[in-house]
Symmetry: C2
Subunit: 340 residues, 2 copies
C-alpha cells in the first residue's frame, strides 16, 4: 500500500502512439484452482475490491437453496437473467416483465432504479419514441426479479428485499463468504449501482469462487448441482447474460460454448471460471474503465491457455485487436496488454 | 521510470464507495509562470506526453504569422474554430463550411476523417435522419480549415497540408518548440486522431507555453498580439471552442469570462493559461479517461487559487460535485480529487 491507501499495481495495458506510451491502465489479477492455490498473478490480488455484478451467480444461490427457484418454476432463461448484466433489449425486459407477472408483482416492486440501456439501438429507439427507460431496462432487473422471488418465498416484506440484514441478503452474503473464503465479518456492505448490497473481497477469493462455480465437484452436492444449472443456463442463453451488441461476456460464452463462464462487474472487475477445468481468474483495472479491461482480459485468457482452439481465438479476435486507428482509418498506435 | 517505461504517478482522484477506495486515477501536473519556473506540481511532469488537441492555439500561430489570417479575412469566430475541439453542432459545422467556401475549397479537401459528433443531440438527429457524419463534424474541422488556408497561402499542395515536413506543419512545430522550450529535434511526429502531426512535450513545457499564450507580455510583439486575438476569440465564443452540452472548456471560459484559457486534448491531457496572471497549468491523467480529468481539474484549479470568486465556483460547481449517486438516486460514494 502506498500512503494514500491504494495499492501500486503494475501496468496491464499500454496505449501507444508512434511506438511511444501515451496512456496506461494498471491493475491486478490472479489465476487459482478451486482450492484457492495460486497458479499465477500480478499486483495486489490479496487486496479486497468491491465485487459488484461479477458475483450475481453467488447472489442467486439462495434462490436455489431455499427452494424458491422450484416453487416459482424459474426457467433456464429466468436463471440466466437472474445472473445477468443485460443490455436492456426486448429479450431481456420482456422476460423480466413476464417473471414479475408470474410472481404477482409489478415493475413498481423493483428497487434497482432506471438507467439508459446499454444497447445503443434500444437507447436510440427509446429516445426516438420519447420514452424514458424503466427499471426493467436496468441491467440488474433480472437479478432483482430473483431477489423479489426469494423475498416472497422467505416472507420478507418486499420493501426490505435489498436490506443487507433481510434474510435473503444475509443468505447471499453467507454464500459469498463460503465461496470466496472471506470471513463473513469482513464483508461490510456498500451500495451497488442497483441499490443491492455489495461487498469487498480479495481478488484471490473472487477467483477461487469462480473456480468453484465452474468446477463445483468439491462443493456440497446440492450446491454443485445449482451452479451447474446456472452455468448451463448461461451457456444456453449467452445473449441473456449480457447482450447482442459488443458485450464481452456474451462473446466469450458463445466462442467457448460456455466453457468459460465470464462475468463483468462495474468499475472493471472481472471474473472467469473454467467449466470443468478447475481454474478461476479474477482481475480489477485500477481506473475502472472498459478499455483496459477489454484489452487485457482477452490477451491474458489466451496467454494462460484458457482458449483451446484457433476457432475460439478467431471468434474473439475483435476483442484482441491491438491496432488503434484514427478517424481517417490510419494506424496511429496500439493498445497492448502487458502479458505475463 | 519503472521497468516498463511508464512513470509511476501519484493518485489524483479516488473513487470511493462506502468510504473505501474502489478505483483511482493517477497522473501528473504542474503550475509554472511564463519563464517556466515551477510553482507547484506532482508526479512526472518533466516527462513528455503527446500534446494532442491541447495546443491548437500554437498550431494556429503560423496562420497569423504568415499573414494568411489577414489575407483570408478570418473572423474571430473562425479563429475560435481554428483552435477548437468542437462538438459538431450546427454552429460549428456551418461556420467551417462557410470558411471552406470562401477559401474556394470543399469538404473533400479536409483530411481529418469523420466521426460521430460529440454532441448527443446532434448524434441522435443524424441517426434519426439516416445521415452519416462528415469531416465537418470532426472536432478538428475548424483547425483543418485553418491548416488549409495556411497551405494555400504558402502554396503547399493541398494534399500535403498534414505532411510534417510541409512548410505549414514545420512552422507549427517550430512554434511548439519556441513556446514550450522543447528542442525541435526532440519533436518526433506521431499521428493525431485527425491525422495531423502531434508531438510529445514535457508537461512543464506545455504549462509554460500556456502561461505565455495567456500572458504574452514577454513574447515578440507580433506574436503577443496574435495570442491576444486568439484568447479574445475564445472568450467571445466559448461555445465555438467546445460545445453547448457538458464541455468543460466552454464552461471554464464562460464562468471566468475568458480569464482561464483552458484546452483539452485526447487521452486526458489538459492545459490552462491564466490570462494576465502569468500562470500556466498542465496535467495528464495516466489512463486517458475523462472521469479522472474532470474531477481533478476543477478541484485543482480552485485549490491553486485560479478561481477568484464564489460566482465562478458556483458556475463550475457541476464539475466539482464529488457525490456519486446510483440509478435509484442513492448516494453510494464519492469521486474525490487528491489535492495538494
Amino acid at each position: 500500500m502506498q500512503a494514500d491507501g491504494y495499492p501500486e499495481n503494475p501496468v496491464l495495458v499500454r496505449v501507444q502512439r508512434a511506438g511511444l506510451v501515451e496512456s496506461v491502465h494498471r491493475g491486478a489479477w490472479c489465476l487459482v484452482d478451486s482450492s484457492g492455490d495460486l497458479l499465477a498473478g500480478e499486483g495486489r490480488f490479496e487486496d479486497p475490491f468491491f465485487v459488484r455484478s461479477s458475483i450475481k451467480s453467488i447472489q442467486a444461490l439462495p434462490l436455489f437453496e431455499t427452494g424458491a427457484v422450484e416453487r416459482f418454476a424459474f426457467t433456464p432463461e429466468e436463471v440466466a437473467l437472474a445472473i445477468a448484466s443485460h443490455s436492456g433489449e426486448a429479450c431481456h425486459t420482456e422476460q423480466v416483465q413476464r417473471t414479475l407477472e408470474r410472481l404477482e408483482l409489478s415493475i413498481d416492486d423493483l428497487r434497482c432504479g432506471a438507467h439508459q440501456p446499454n444497447d445503443p439501438d434500444v437507447r436510440f429507439t427509446l429516445r426516438a419514441e420519447g420514452v424514458q427507460p424503466t427499471a426493467l431496462h436496468n441491467n440488474c432487473s433480472g437479478k432483482h426479479a430473483g431477489f423479489l422471488a426469494l423475498a416472497k418465498h422467505l416472507e420478507v416484506p418486499l420493501e426490505r428485499y435489498l436490506d443487507p440484514e433481510s434474510e435473503g441478503q444475509r443468505l447471499a452474503r453467507a454464500a459469498l463468504a463460503d465461496l470466496t473464503g472471506a470471513a463473513e465479518e469482513t464483508l461490510l456492505p456498500g451500495i451497488d449501482g442497483c441499490s443491492a448490497p455489495t461487498y469487498r473481497v480479495p481478488l484471490r477469493g473472487l477467483a477461487t469462487a469462480f473456480a468453484r462455480i465452474a468446477t463445483p465437484d468439491g462443493l456440497e452436492p446440492g450446491r454443485a448441482e445449482y451452479f451447474r444449472r446456472m452455468t448451463a443456463a448461461a451457456r444456453a442463453n449467452p445473449v441473456l447474460i449480457a447482450g447482442s451488441h459488443r458485450r464481452i461476456d456474451t462473446d466469450i460464452l458463445r466462442a467457448t460454448e460456455g466453457r468459460l463462464f465470464a462475468k463483468i462487474g462495474a468499475e472493471a472487475i472481472y471474473a472467469i471460471g473454467v467449466c470443468g477445468g478447475d481454474r478461476g481468474l479474477a482481475l480489477k483495472v485500477d481506473d475502472g474503465g472498459l478499455r483496459g479491461l477489454h484489452a487485457f482480459v482477452m490477451g491474458l485468457v489466451d496467454r494462460l491457455g484458457l482458449l483451446v482452439s484457433d476457432d475460439e481465438r478467431e471468434a474473439l479476435a475483435r476483442w484482441n485487436d491491438p491496432v488503434l486507428r484514427n478517424h481517417a482509418g490510419l494506424e496511429v498506435g496500439r493498445v497492448e496488454p502487458v502479458l505475463p
